[in-house]
Symmetry: C2
Subunit: 345 residues, 2 copies
């Protein structure tokens, strides 16, 4: 990969944007030139990258001239407005918001699962929802070997999925609780929604706002994105998404039914050899994944694998990954790396 690229980051100061910068450096992404873009309000702010200081420029359509890859993570409305402008100017947009994910003209990609979809892009690639990514990374190798006919997931999602202000809110509420003060809630479950509830010492069964069918948008993202990424439009998928007082690292209790009979040992073997996965499952040593221990780690960790006691083709899995890394920033950079390797950039 001698080629070097001009990279733009839109939303570099957010929880995901910060990780994007780190991933670019850590993975030695071949950068010729990098620029940082934001709204007029944030333009002029300084940002550090690789020991140098950069001034954030205003994200105008023209700012994308000459950009090869534009990494967006500044909210759906920013992507809606500017991603097509960037694409029009020849940049490949890798968008971390939900805005384009279900657009049939936009590939929604987890490289371990559907890297081949990258070739079909029209200037914009969507990065899936954090909770979806880690689940499909674990399910795809099982599907390849044994088929897949049902998925039911309950999530235990970290506050960092709601951004830096939600992490701060958890810290403040914890301190208030320690001090015996009244705990105030302003951000979670959804900053723009009507009511807010404390997350310290609590779990909140709402992530994103509600849709008319009673599911939240987060739940519908998991349902619809899983089908799209896995190319299984008719796969039954159900999700219940819950916020827990964890800083980073989403956990998922997943029930699946496979098509062909399988044993736990066979599932172990499949996952042990699958890309991006660490099998962490040894009950004799109480070894299983936990969010506190995956923070800052790249892989998707899978454990607690059990065959259902009433259904031989039913399996229970416990899937944990850092939602800011494989769930967001890392997957975005892996998309760019895959496109480079596949001569799509």
């Amino acid at each position: 990969m001698a080629k070097e690229l001009t990279v733009a980051i839109v939303g570099a100061t957010g929880a995901v944007g910060t990780q994007m910068k780190e991933q670019l450096l850590k993975r030695n992404f071949p950068i010729k030139h990098i620029k940082f873009l934001a709204s007029a309000r944030s333009a002029g702010t300084e940002v550090e990258f690789g020991g140098k200081t950069y001034t954030i420029e205003e994200a105008t359509p023209e700012a994308f001239e000459g950009v090869d890859v534009a990494l967006f993570s500044a909210g759906g409305s920013v992507s809606a407005k500017l991603a097509p402008e960037a694409a029009k100017r020849g940049a490949v947009v890798i968008d971390n918001t939900s805005h384009f994910r279900m657009d049939p003209n936009v590939p929604l990609v987890v490289p371990e699962v559907n890297r081949e979809d990258l070739a079909k892009h029209n200037g914009i690639i969507a990065n899936p929802n954090c909770s979806t990514i880690q689940m499909v990374v674990a399910l795809e190798p099982i599907r390849e070997q044994f088929g897949l006919k049902n998925v039911i997931v309950s999530t235990y999602q970290a506050v960092s999925g709601s951004g830096v202000s939600a992490i701060e809110e958890l810290r403040e509420q914890s301190a208030e609780w320690e001090a015996g003060k009244n705990v105030e809630a302003k951000i979670l479950p959804v900053k723009s929604d009507k009511k807010h509830y404390p997350i310290a010492r609590n779990v909140i069964p709402q992530i994103d706002v509600f849709t008319d069918n009673g599911f939240t948008y987060e739940e519908m993202k998991m349902i619809n994105e899983t089908k799209k990424i896995m190319h299984m439009p008719d796969l039954p998928v159900a999700a219940t998404c819950v916020r827990v007082p964890v800083v980073s690292g989403h956990s998922e209790s997943v029930y699946i039914e496979v098509e062909k009979e399988a044993s736990v040992q066979e599932i172990f073997d499949v996952l042990r050899n699958a890309p991006g996965i660490v099998l962490q499952d040894d009950i004799s040593t109480q070894d299983y994944p936990m969010p506190l221990f995956v923070e800052g780690e790249d892989p998707v960790y899978v454990g607690r694998i059990r065959q259902d006691l009433s259904n031989k083709k039913g399996f229970h899995l416990w899937i944990v990954s850092d939602n800011l890394l494989k769930g967001a920033a890392l997957n975005s950079i892996q998309i760019a790396e895959s496109m480079l390797e596949d001569n799509l950039l």
Copy 2:
């Protein structure tokens, strides 16, 4: 209920025992005389009850002479040894440990579900596991109306289920985390198990020790106890039990399949009129149960009820209750009250 009873509490100083005392007072249980029993080591300690001070006596077999109801919550080995001795002396034992729960000669009772089983007692009644109780209270009225053919549950369980020392551990770890110190773990997931993990800022997919089939005892309790209480030995039940950093209040994400077609509105109607349940489900006002708000409350709260998008007979429920109350102490006292009303005491 003019009858007044002699009550013994074994394990009055634990998390559940403390709630048992409060429930007896709050519900005006007809007490003629009360005595507090514990191991020789704790005998002599003083305990408050209803404004009076009592001295804890040693729990010898003879201490149960003249006792009408003995409430046990001092660990399985204490119950194993002393519950039969108490029963032999004419006391009815209501045992909060898991020791006798699956004994075919011991009724396992949630009064809202299988009160009729109380009549079959042989001196010992078992109080089910906390996470089981709140689930069957919610499932029974649905089963009555629509049948039940499958249950898959993922839990979000509070630390108080592991006792006072686990609550203290969460508090200490939170303070250590706030202070930037290393967080030490000594109690959770299971005090007697080999390894301990922090619960602050974490979730732990292990409650109780592991069984050979890969499920934990807690998961097997939910599976086996649900079948026994509901009189459905062949009901497929699957459980994944997870500890979360919540003080009190267990939450459960439950997927069920019913026999007859039903609508969400019909499930609402059934639950609204069911005993012991508060239906808390209005997405227009973000109204759903959360553990922080059920602490100290008697009912089982149910919300987030959704029809599965791929299976008309599939429904998702979110069930929350105070694990020390309906999950333990309250259910024990309700068993005693039911027995009084049914002339079994």
